[in-house]
């Protein structure tokens, strides 16, 4: 573990003093093994689960009736479903970024948050995955989007960004899942060894894939994990780039712009970190993990948010500028429509949420203040959702022929589906914190002073 050699505690400690190998392990594993589920947990999980059921109901009705139950119409062919899809995919970026990129960058502070950041990523991608499947008019034929040998001797249309999406998102989901699971193996073994109950032993045992912690195991683990990190890194950038193509490839004014890929990725990381922060602040409080997820973590995350937020801001400004500078009457109007059109309030709200409010993060006090950080992250998440609404709906509702302009009004089914996915996400998180070590035990241990290897 040469990693530690250059990791001299010049920087602020990323783990509170006074912890030992044993205590770390106890602390984290106890949450799963010994600590009984609180009523709060049951209530939270219950609510989330009910919301998820509501989503399933909405989807069921959708399949019976058709897209018409949503607010979609001509010219606004895409509404909430795509807005939510992009939003969730964006959120699903932080995990892999933290795990892979920060790992490659040897940012050891990541160790305490990467585990549930990754989990969060998986769940977010799962939520996102709900939409592409159901947003088509004939979901039972959605499989035609996959290239499979068929008697029609007809392939998918590979020029379509939607096809690229299919590949990008599914690959990303797979890699993230693998990455997450591989990272879990040593800890699963720990849980196996520490759990008293037989069934638990068996389950964790199976999941641990017979991990014994031998040097060879460690060696292979390190290689595999490093490889996966290498694989995952480009994906972090590719996924949202491809998703942004859905719009950039279109000719719709407001979509047809080359700046989308970078600023979609930035936005994704932006919202991803916001979600991580929003989750870890309550969790560290409830489970008393302030020792592991220290203010340093909050501070660093906040800095990342600030940085990506500025990139996003730059994106907005360039978009607006090009709208005017292009001299193209349709682009010009799209800008005008955002500033003065029927949805202009949302556009201004977007600026407030994503650009103005987060500027307070320049203040260190706020960066390290859980309460305010929580609020700001929430604001950012709202802002990022609005961004997608502005891009998808506001571009479509007034395009080229004035005769075909329209308005978009989401229906109760749109809302049920959207809120439902949030429920699904939370339900998954609740389960996760109960059955798996939400912080990587062994990686935490590497942060301990004892772990430092003396030459």
């Amino acid at each position: 573990m040469s990693e530690q050699t250059e990791q001299k505690p010049l920087r602020a400690p990323v783990i509170a003093p006074g912890y030992s190998f044993g205590s770390v392990t106890d602390k984290i594993s106890s949450i799963v093994l010994t600590r009984p589920a609180s009523n709060g947990w049951f209530m939270g999980f219950g609510v989330a689960f009910l919301l998820m059921q509501m989503m399933l109901f909405a989807i069921g009705y959708l399949v019976l009736k058709g897209i018409g139950i949503w607010g979609d119409t001509t010219p606004i062919g895409w509404g909430f479903e795509i807005v939510n899809f992009v939003w969730w995919i964006g959120i699903g970026h932080a995990g892999t970024l933290i795990s892979a990129i920060l790992m490659l960058l040897r940012q050891s502070w990541r160790n305490s948050i990467n585990r549930f950041a990754e989990a969060m990523t998986l769940f977010a991608v799962a939520c996102a995955g709900v939409f592409p499947a159901i947003h088509v008019g004939r979901p039972w034929l959605a499989y035609w989007m996959f290239p499979y040998p068929n008697t029609m001797s007809y392939w998918p249309q590979f020029r379509s960004p939607l096809i690229w999406d299919v590949f990008a998102v599914s690959t990303y989901a797979t890699i993230s899942a693998l990455f997450w699971f591989v990272g879990l193996i040593p800890d699963l073994a720990t849980l196996r060894d520490r759990s008293e109950k037989r069934p638990l032993k068996i389950i964790y045992g199976m999941l641990a894939l017979g991990w014994r912690g031998s040097a060879r195991h460690w060696h292979r683990y390190e290689t595999a994990y490093l490889l996966l990190a290498g694989l995952a890194t480009p994906l972090v950038l590719s996924v949202h780039t491809v998703v942004s193509f859905d719009f950039a490839i279109g000719i719709v004014p407001g979509w047809h712009t080359t700046i989308f890929p970078p600023y979609f990725v930035a936005g994704a990381i932006y919202s991803g970190f916001a979600m991580v922060v929003m989750l870890c602040i309550p969790i560290r409080k409830i489970y008393g993990l302030e020792g592991f997820i220290t203010e340093t973590h909050l501070d660093n995350s906040a800095k990342v948010m600030l940085a990506t937020g500025l990139i996003v801001g730059y994106g907005y400004i360039v978009e607006a500028f090009m709208g005017w500078y292009s001299g193209n009457r349709y682009e010009e109007f799209t800008l005008w429509n955002r500033l003065h059109g029927p949805y202009h309030v949302l556009y201004w709200l977007l600026w407030i949420c994503n650009i103005f409010v987060p500027q307070v993060l320049w203040i260190k006090k706020l960066r390290t203040n859980p309460f305010w950080l929580f609020i700001i992250s929430a604001v950012v998440l709202v802002g990022m959702w609005l961004e997608r609404f502005v891009i998808v709906v506001m571009s479509l509702h007034r395009d080229f022929l004035t005769s075909s302009w329209g308005m978009y009004y989401p229906t109760k089914w749109d809302w049920m589906t959207y809120i439902g996915t949030i429920g699904m996400f939370l339900a998954a998180i609740f389960l996760f914190v109960r059955v798996l070590p939400m912080i990587s035990i062994f990686e935490m241990r590497t942060l301990l002073p004892e772990a430092e290897v003396k030459e």
């Binding site: 008697t151 029609m152 001797s153 007809y154």
Partner: protein, 133 residues
């Protein structure tokens, strides 16, 4: 065995047959043009004259349609042979005569027929709207 037919002729009440070669409803097929371009009955319907009980000879799947539309020369025959249920594709032993010329193999015959009968290009007849509207 033909009693039902006679019966129907007497009473004028139609016989109810079951469709064997049944295309999906979104596929538009026109017999006349295929016959006109030299596609034989049994190319698609098989040896109907030797079927004790009618069965579906060709799969009628899109793939199958396209196979022919992509290379019609593989199946074309002189117009006067279209209804000939015993027609064999030309071989060295049994050449087929067309336009006073003897053809030893299907490909050369097919190609000759193709421009004789002004078949449209492969791209033309594999356009979606050729069969779907």
């Amino acid at each position: 065995m033909l009693e039902p037919v006679r019966e129907s002729f007497k009473t004028g009440k139609s016989l109810v047959w079951n469709r064997v070669n049944d295309l999906p409803d979104f596929v538009y097929f026109n017999h006349s043009i295929h016959i006109n371009k030299g596609v034989g009955c049994n190319t698609c319907h098989g040896p109907v004259d030797r079927m004790p009980l009618m069965y579906n000879y060709a799969s009628l799947e899109m793939e199958w349609c396209l196979d022919c539309h992509r290379a019609p020369e593989k199946n074309l025959r002189p117009r006067d042979q279209v209804f000939n249920m015993r027609y064999e594709q030309p071989t060295a032993e049994s050449p087929v005569e067309f336009d006073g010329k003897k053809y030893m193999d299907q490909l050369s015959l097919g190609t000759a027929l193709k421009d004789k009968y002004h078949l449209r290009s492969k791209q033309d007849i594999t356009s979606c709207s050729t069969c779907h509207r």
